[in-house]
């Protein structure tokens, strides 16, 4: 089943490009740990989800690009075309001449209704190209005007028009020290609207990803390109094909369905986060070895202590033992550090995945695995 991606605003479009690039590179990566047959099955599954076929064999991303001004979209289209290996559909973009001016109201009440027809038509065309639709993945930022305002409007319309399709919104939480002055207004307005119309909100915080770039990837001068690549890496590990433990070696067909089923048990709690391990630069990868036990231990502690990356984890935080009264020495502060998640999903990727013992953590629901190239691991708490 396929996912149609809607990229909104400068942020959405820049991230969207990196996501498709990462997905494509991952599925076409030479050399690997599994057989040719498995490789081909993986590639085919990934392709079905995110790319459609073009006449001359170049895969076209299943995406609709929307922005209120032209610069970013033209940049994105040319970057994709330059790579030569995949590209965006020529007619899958919609732009206007003047941006939204960081004004949520502009995006939602002016641009939205004005361009509703055109944008929904573009999405319709993309949907028709799919054999079966799993749902929509909408990438947007919360601080700006187009991504936030128009994003909220589009999500609402998708709910009206495609009520049976799932929608996951990928929202970017702005920097705490401010990148847009009215970001608080825009963010609150967006969240309140999305909460009603979206099925799941996958949150990425600029601050957290920035720290990952600085500490784990060791990048000296971090650009938005670096940040987006880390983001794309994390998203890729969530969306690439997986198969369930019980089942055979056939890949699961409904990515969004799986995620929602496991992570959104109650419609009121739909904010998701991603934790990825290991996250490091390509250079360091050659010098590291991993074991499942070690990775899982780190990941579990990351979850418990609410850390976003594998460095600087607070190992002192422990979950309270069920049924027993809290120890007298535990201060109130310690308790608030403990992450209470409603649902978790672990995705394991890599060699000997079946030997990994995920343990008996209480809230753990399901485990999806994939025998493929990179060793990835993520947990998504609700």
């Amino acid at each position: 089943m396929s996912i149609v991606t809607v990229q909104l605003g400068q942020c959405g479009n820049q991230i969207g490009f990196e996501v498709f690039d990462a997905l494509f590179n991952d599925s076409h990566c030479p050399g690997g740990l599994c057989s040719k047959r498995e490789n081909e099955a993986y590639q085919a599954s990934c392709k079905e989800r995110f790319f459609s076929e073009e006449e001359n064999g170049v895969p076209v991303a299943r995406a609709v690009l929307v922005d209120m001004e032209r610069k970013v979209i033209s940049q994105t289209l040319s970057k994709a075309a330059r790579s030569g290996r995949w590209k965006y559909g020529q007619h899958s973009c919609f732009c206007q001449k003047q941006g939204s001016g960081n004004n949520w109201a502009y995006g939602y009440s002016v641009h939205g209704p004005r361009h509703k027809e055109s944008i929904m038509n573009l999405i319709q065309k993309e949907v028709e190209k799919c054999d079966s639709l799993s749902g929509f993945f909408i990438i947007m930022s919360m601080a700006g005007g187009t991504g936030s305002g128009l994003g909220a409007f589009v999500t609402q319309n998708l709910q009206d028009q495609y009520s049976s399709a799932l929608k996951m919104n990928h929202i970017i939480w702005p920097y705490g020290t401010g990148e847009v002055i009215v970001q608080n207004y825009n963010s609150i307005l967006t969240l309140s609207h999305l909460y009603r119309s979206s099925d799941a909100l996958l949150v990425h915080e600029n601050d957290a990803v920035h720290k990952i770039c600085a500490k784990l990837m060791n990048i000296k001068q971090i650009s938005f390109c670096d940040i987006n690549q880390v983001l794309a890496h994390q998203l890729g590990s969530v969306f690439q094909p997986t198969y369930s433990r019980e089942g055979s070696f056939h890949y699961r067909r409904n990515p969004l369905g799986d995620l929602m089923e496991n992570l959104v048990p109650h419609p009121e709690f739909k904010m998701l986060g991603v934790r990825n391990i290991p996250q490091m630069s390509e250079n360091s990868l050659a010098y590291s070895t991993f074991t499942w036990a070690g990775l899982l231990k780190h990941l579990r502690q990351m979850l418990i202590s609410n850390a976003k990356m594998e460095e600087g984890i607070d190992w002192q935080v422990r979950p309270p033992l069920s049924g027993l009264p809290p120890l007298g020495k535990m201060s109130v502060n310690k308790e608030t550090h403990f992450n209470t998640s409603i649902a978790n999903l672990v995705i394991l990727r890599g060699k000997d995945v079946h030997s990994a013992d995920v343990g008996h953590h209480r809230a753990l629901k399901r485990v999806l695995c994939a025998e493929h190239l990179k060793i990835q691991l993520s947990i998504l708490p609700g």
Binding site: R70, Q98, G101, G145, T177, V180, I181, I222, S223
Partner: protein, 475 residues
């Protein structure tokens, strides 16, 4: 891509405008090597086939044929405009986009505003409409004028009302040159205060600049160049004051260097809207973010670096120095000390090879020394443009909505009151039809109200941030 039209009024406005167009051409020539008329150029220039007579010559794509500036030149005496039309830029201006008269306004705001305003209203409207028609999507009018004279101040502010009525959706950015302490025009306080009232009511955003600060910046650069410090060879093209790329010992025209600074300001302001970058900022975003209340739309600006040393390797320390300089009172384009006053909002527009981590690091470093208003502690707006200005590898424009503009206004009011108490020179104004004493009193009370607003904000400076009661979520 949107277009902007520049309206230059009066001698000062036209001279600055001239420097602006010169620099704009250089910038686009440096960036656009292939000579294709692209969207970046179209924001300020039209591509015209000069062989076609009349209006049909506009070419929207393809190679550059002949560039015409999207400008309207207005002056009530012919000298300055004629000089421009005979100078090196004569082909850039459309000869139909001029409005001139012969006698000038005599440093009298009333003549500029009331007499010439009513006389030329139709003609002005016609020229503005024409330039708007040539635009695909007009976003902004840039008005350049001085406050102390007669034409720039009077007719320039008359224009604002016309623009507001005729094009209500188009933003009006005004670059105003305020008179310095030792200004040579005696009636400049009257002219400025009368003009301020119009700016208060009809402008969307004002960038106040004063001659003394520009002069101080020039002196600083001169000092730097003549001191002959070891390793301090400056790249000649990189001076924020240079226009021709050749370093001249003495500028031919006395105000050229200062005008170039203002021209650079306008270019940097629009750079993120014209060129690509990883975090774009359009002109409407400037107004959206930096103007919290409609009355408080005066932005203090500063440009750094003022020059680039010929040393190619720029260690991060120099980059950080650029950020620190942007907040020092020596680099502001108006007499102001933003560090010791209250910030309502601040925008940092970076050009060149600067990434988000550099920006973040510097914001975090400088934040503790700056005071932000209690309801907007994270009042930063940032933008990154990948194209640096000509001759530099990176540059920073800081726009601050800060209460440090208050002293300039208070000063202006003092000088006004000193003259007005004696009713000196008043009869020149009152003899113009439509002018009465009430115009003066209204103008000064409008300014006083503005100063009062800033005072109120300043009073909240030392108050602790109020902690509002929050809802408790039941677990």
């Amino acid at each position: 891509m949107t277009q902007s039209v520049v309206v230059q009024v009066g001698q000062c406005g036209n001279q600055i405008g001239c420097c602006f167009w010169d620099l704009a051409l250089r910038e686009h020539a440096a960036v656009n090597k292939k000579g294709i008329y692209d969207e970046a150029i179209s924001s300020f220039f039209r591509n015209v086939d000069t062989r076609v007579v009349g209006d049909g010559g506009n070419i929207s794509k393809g190679k550059i044929c002949s560039l015409k500036a999207r400008a309207v030149l207005i002056d009530m005496e012919e000298g300055v405009v004629n000089e421009i039309l005979q100078g090196p830029l004569r082909d850039v201006f459309d000869s139909k986009q001029l409005i001139t008269d012969i006698s000038g306004s005599g440093n009298n705001w009333a003549v500029g505003h009331k007499v010439f305003g009513s006389l030329y209203q139709e003609k002005i409207l016609e020229k503005l409409r024409k330039s708007a028609e040539h635009c695909d999507c007009l976003q902004c009018f840039f008005i350049i004028h001085s406050m102390g004279g007669g034409t720039g101040s009077g007719l320039g502010t008359f224009l604002l009302k016309v623009l507001k009525d005729e094009f209500p959706e188009v933003y009006r950015f005004v670059t105003s040159i305020y008179p310095s302490g030792e200004d040579d025009v005696i009636t400049s306080p009257y002219n400025s205060i009368l003009a301020m009232k119009e700016l208060n009511e009809h402008a969307d955003c004002v960038l106040p600049i004063d001659n003394q600060s520009l002069f101080d910046i020039i002196s600083k650069i001169d000092l730097m160049m003549n001191s002959g410090k070891l390793g301090a060879a400056i790249k000649p093209k990189s001076l924020v004051t240079s226009s021709t790329g050749v370093f001249k010992k003495r500028q031919e025209k006395p105000f050229d260097a200062m005008n170039n600074i203002v021209a650079n300001l306008l270019l940097n302001l629009t750079s993120s809207a014209r060129f690509e970058g990883s975090l774009n900022m359009d002109l409407n975003e400037i107004i959206m973010n930096l103007v919290p209340f409609p009355q408080l739309h005066y932005l203090v600006s500063s440009l750094t670096p003022l020059y680039t040393l010929a040393d190619v390797n720029i260690p991060p320390r120099r980059l950080d120095q650029m950020f620190s300089d942007a907040f020092s009172k020596d680099h502001q384009l108006i007499r102001a000390d933003p560090k010791h006053s209250l910030y309502l909002a601040c925008a940092l527009m970076v050009r060149g090879n600067v990434q988000i981590s550099d920006l973040r690091r510097n914001i975090e470093r400088l934040k503790p020394s700056l005071q932000f208003v209690s309801w907007n502690q994270e009042g930063w707006k940032t933008s990154l443009c990948s194209v640096p200005p000509v001759g530099h590898s990176h540059s920073l424009l800081a726009l601050a909505n800060n209460t440090c503009v208050k002293p300039t206004f208070i000063d202006l009011r003092e000088r006004f009151i000193r003259l007005y108490k004696k009713k000196a020179h008043l009869h020149h104004y009152l003899q113009i039809e439509g002018m009465e004493e009430s115009c003066f009193t209204e103008a000064v009370s409008s300014l006083s109200a503005l100063i009062q607003e800033y005072n109120q904000l300043d009073a909240t400076k030392s108050m602790p941030v109020e902690d509002l009661p929050r809802l408790n979520i039941a677990m």
